[in-house]
Amino acid sequence: LVQPRNTDSFDYANYHTLSEIYSFQDMLVAENPNLVSKIVIGQSYEGRPLNVLKFSTGGSNRPAIWIDTGIHSREWVTQASGLWFAKKIVTDYGKDSALTAILNNMDIFLEIATNPDGYYFTHTSNRMWRKTRKPNPGNSCYGVDPNRNWDAGFGLPGASTNPCSETYHGPSAHSESEVKSIVDFVKSHGNIKTFISIHSYSQMLLYPCGYTTTPVKDQAELHSLAEKAITDLASLYGTRYRYGSIINVIYQASGSTVDWTYEQGIKYSYTFELRDTGSYGFLLPAKQIIPTAEETWLALMALMDHTYKNPY
């Protein structure tokens, strides 16, 4: 096997194992020491590092943007898009005026393999695995849905109490180290202004709330920004997204990531469901990775640019 020697020769148009993702992160840091650093925010249940790439041009505790991919491990196009985003940030910094302005004033944090145990398991044992890999005492089924494990409407309808379900919420809020590590990081940072959690598939851009139909106080702004983001996204390949609050556009979902981040005061909290070719669901062919990442990047830029221009 031929290992890529640098991030230029990395194959962004294919899916990669967890160790390849870890190697990529180290290469990107080594190649861009003045822009990228790696932070380990915790460990997964099976002891894997929870790596976050920090893109920063300096300053101290600047307002920041958080992006995570792959919390549902089987949605491989999300981790693959995360790799592409990381390279895009270092490539465009200094060339793209909008991104350069953002990075001259804000930091970007990117967690590419948010559920590394699950991702490893999808490569080695079960491609359909979505949850974490922590055993559930007294039950033969493993894992918790890490997008139902947050302390926002935790345990309400819209998550399962059954450990064998794909939407099992877990024994308590933040019981999963993959979730708790982000919670601790967000709280200790204290200056995150945008939080974007990326899933696939079904082509949606969603904002809080998932556990209640009561609109959030920033609904009007979040809605119009979502419209702008999906319009930009569609400008590349015509991919059409639906957008709105989680409960109105999808279904009741309690304990979800962006409901918690919004309740922490992160106004621009969004979750993506990336493209669906209509044929394969989240088993998206590798040739779809780059188009998916490219179009999603336009929406990410819309969200990041709006945050930069509308400080709060």
């Binding site: 359909m128 794909e166 279904y251 088993l283």
Partner: protein, 93 residues
């Protein structure tokens, strides 16, 4: 390694609120052993579920008996996974 020979992904489209309510409870019907890939959203929006081969006929009968329209989105999940694996192997060479 767990394989998925004969598993199908069915796309079901609810036509009314009654069918919508039926689909909302699908995951709780444990005997079908379903894996809901894309959950219930609303009338006319598709729901995708992976069904193992040993419950496929029973599940399809259930759908027919409730007049729930469906199509087969993926005939054999394992065939796609095999292609994906081959693609990764050849890309790594």
């Amino acid at each position: 390694k767990e394989t998925f020979e004969g598993h199908q992904v069915l796309r079901i489209v609810p036509k009314n609120e009654l069918q919508l309510a039926l689909l909302k409870n699908l995951e709780e019907i444990v005997e079908f052993e379903l894996d809901v890939w894309m959950g219930v959203t609303g009338v006319s929006y598709p729901v995708d579920v992976r069904v193992p081969p040993h419950t496929l006929e029973t599940f399809k009968s259930y759908l027919d008996s409730h007049d729930l329209e469906y199509s087969t989105m993926i005939e054999d999940v394992q065939a796609i996974l095999d292609m994906e694996r081959e693609q990764m192997k050849s890309a790594a060479r």
